[in-house]
Structures are given as C-alpha cells and as structure tokens.
C-alpha cells in the first residue's frame, strides 16, 4: 500500500453503503429470482479478495464488477430446464475471464444491443457516460440498456 492510498475501510461499511443498489444491479443482471443468491455469492467473493486489494479506491465500482461476474457464473452453472439456442461456444470455457463469459452471454444479441450492455456492466459506466459514448441522451441510454437486458433475459428464459 502506498503512503497516499486510502486504507481499506471496514468491509461492512461498503455493504451498508452500497448493498441496496447492488441488489438492484443483481436484479438487472441476474433476474429477480436469482438476485439475492447472486449478491450473497458476490459479497463472499469480495470478502475473499478484499485483503489483497492494494488500496481503498473505486470500491463501489469493484463491487459492481464482482456482482456482474457472480451473475454470469451463476447463469453458466445453472442447469437449463429446456433446450435453448446456445450462444457460440467460443470463449466459454472454465478458464475464460469474466469479460469473455460476458461476451458469450450477450452473443445472441445484435451489436446494437451488445454495446450498451458492455458499457453498463463491463465498463460500469453510469447513464450519462453511456449516453456520451452512444451519442444519445441519458434517458435513451437507460432505455437501450433496459431493452437489451430484457431481450437477453427473454432469450435465456426461452
């Protein structure tokens, strides 16, 4: 840890400060029925990794990423009840990194839907920044992310 880096805060103060919004995030990426299990798993993953973090910066964004990764892993490990159109197998292996898994997850969607999802859940941008990148209003950015999430969920539930 460098002298200027803030020390790691008590883990639970992060949970209490960001838990509600992380649950909302888990609902978006994993669906309401899996959100609590995903978030519980995400908190435990975060706790395991926490002492190895080098500084106490960007912890909220880090927790968002851990939650997204937990949602993706939960999705991949869940038995499919009915046959679905599988995303391409490219990149879907046990040693793939989270972004590779995320790409596989969103592969069935058109690029116009994939890009807002990457900006939101991989780059963890807020809607103002997503709007800047997509060249639209924040409202439109929110709409595009929300529509893409809905389409993705429908694809995987089909």
């Amino acid at each position: 840890m460098t002298a200027n880096a803030p020390a790691l805060p008590p883990f639970w103060s992060l949970v209490e400060a960001h838990g509600d919004e992380l649950l909302a995030h888990a609902r978006r990426v994993a669906g309401p029925e899996h959100a609590e299990d995903v978030l519980q798993d995400a908190f435990l993953r975060a706790l395991r990794a926490y002492p190895r973090l080098r500084h106490g910066e960007h912890l909220r964004a880090w927790l968002y990423r851990v939650t997204t990764t937990a949602a993706i892993d939960a999705h991949r490990s869940r038995p499919r009840e009915r046959p679905v159109a599988e995303p391409p197998e490219v990149g879907v292996s046990d040693d793939v990194d989270a972004d590779g898994a995320f790409e596989a997850l969103i592969a069935p969607l058109p690029e116009a839907a994939r890009e807002p999802l990457r900006l939101r859940f991989v780059e963890d941008l807020d809607y103002d920044h997503i709007a800047g990148r997509l060249g639209c209003t924040p409202q439109a950015a929110r709409q595009r992310v929300s529509t893409a999430v809905r389409t993705l969920r429908e694809r995987h539930a089909a």
Binding site: S13, E16, G19, D20, L23, F43, L44, L47
Partner: protein, 189 residues
C-alpha cells in the same frame, strides 16, 4: 430501491465466519445505558463503544487493528448480546465473556486490564493504586489510571469498578453518570 433483506446480510456474515473470512464481527445493541457497539475479535470481545463514540471511526479502528474484513451479525454474537443485555437489565449477576486485548499494545496497561478482568468481581471496587500493585507495579497508579481510561472493552473489563483513593467515583470513559449507574446496579454504591 428495495432494501437489502436482513436475512441476506445474516447469511453472508454467517458464511464469512464459517469460512474463516471475518477478521472481526460486530453487533449493535440497545441497552438501559444506551446503544452499544460490540466487536468480537479472534479470541473474544475486543472493543465496546458507547453511543457517543462515532461508529465510523470505531469501525475504522477495528479494521486497522484486526483487519478489514469486518462483518455485522446479531446471530453470530447472540451469546454476547444476551450476556450483556441480561447483565445491564439486572437479570444476570455476572458478565463473564472472553476478552481479546489486542487493542492494548503497552504490556503494563494490558496487565492492568487482565488483572481487572480476572480479579475484581461484581460489587467490589478497587483503587488505581491497589490495581497497579496487583498488576505488579505498586507505584504505577497513573499508568493504571491510563489503562482504565483507554480500556477498549468497558463493562467486560470492569473499569467502572476502579475508584480514586482520594474519594469520589472518579472519571469514566463512558461518562461519570454511567459509572454511577453501573456501580448502583452492582450494589457497590
């Protein structure tokens, strides 16, 4: 936004304790002497804060001393909660909980608090000089007073039972009014 359910938080904290991922566990407790924040370390109760002490600073101190993996759980600390509540509500005559004195770095101050925890029972009082003597250094009554003033685990290490030899009830980290309430509860006043 839907608030995080308590059941989820308890499940996370219990799993963390079970897997050895928690450096410290804390709980918030309402008692007749106000709200307390109780922190359990590896070997026992390591820190108790009265409600005047800002929680952020207290927990930051816990993270610095015990490690950053600090979790909250009423369930994991149920035994300590029951013991403290029963004691302060007058339903239990002794408060006997293991303590973890790793917040106390100076060896003599630590010896003073261990002596106090082990030898001064409910209803008894002791002077700072006597406590220093029992801890191995009869002349170090000022150091004994400092140890009490900085006691990280009030109530469990009963610094409220230490009085000045000059009379009166002296000072208390949690305020003189609380010291008086505790001594009256114990029948020492």
């Amino acid at each position: 936004m839907t608030p995080l359910p308590d059941s989820l938080l308890e499940a996370v904290a219990s799993a963390a304790v079970r897997e050895g991922l928690a450096d410290a566990v804390f709980t918030r407790l309402n008692t007749p002497i106000g709200k307390l924040l109780v922190v359990q370390g590896p070997e026992g109760i390591a820190r108790i804060g009265f409600e005047e002490e800002p929680e952020d600073a207290l927990l930051a101190g816990v993270a610095a001393e015990l490690g950053p993996r600090v979790v909250a759980s009423d369930r994991e600390l149920a035994a300590a909660r029951d013991a403290i509540s029963s004691y302060l509500e007058g339903d239990a005559s002794v408060l006997d909980l293991p303590v973890d004195l790793r917040f106390v770095h100076a060896p003599f101050r630590r010896a003073v608090l261990e002596t106090l925890h082990d030898t001064v029972r409910r209803g008894e009082v002791v002077t700072y000089g006597k406590l220093a003597e029992r801890s191995g250094n009869p002349r170090a009554f000022r150091a004994a007073a400092t140890a009490c003033a900085r006691n990280p685990v009030p109530l469990v290490v009963p610094c409220h039972r230490v009085l000045p030899s000059t009379g009166g009830i002296g000072n208390y980290g949690g305020g003189v009014a609380r010291k008086r309430v505790l001594l009256e509860l114990e029948g020492a006043l």
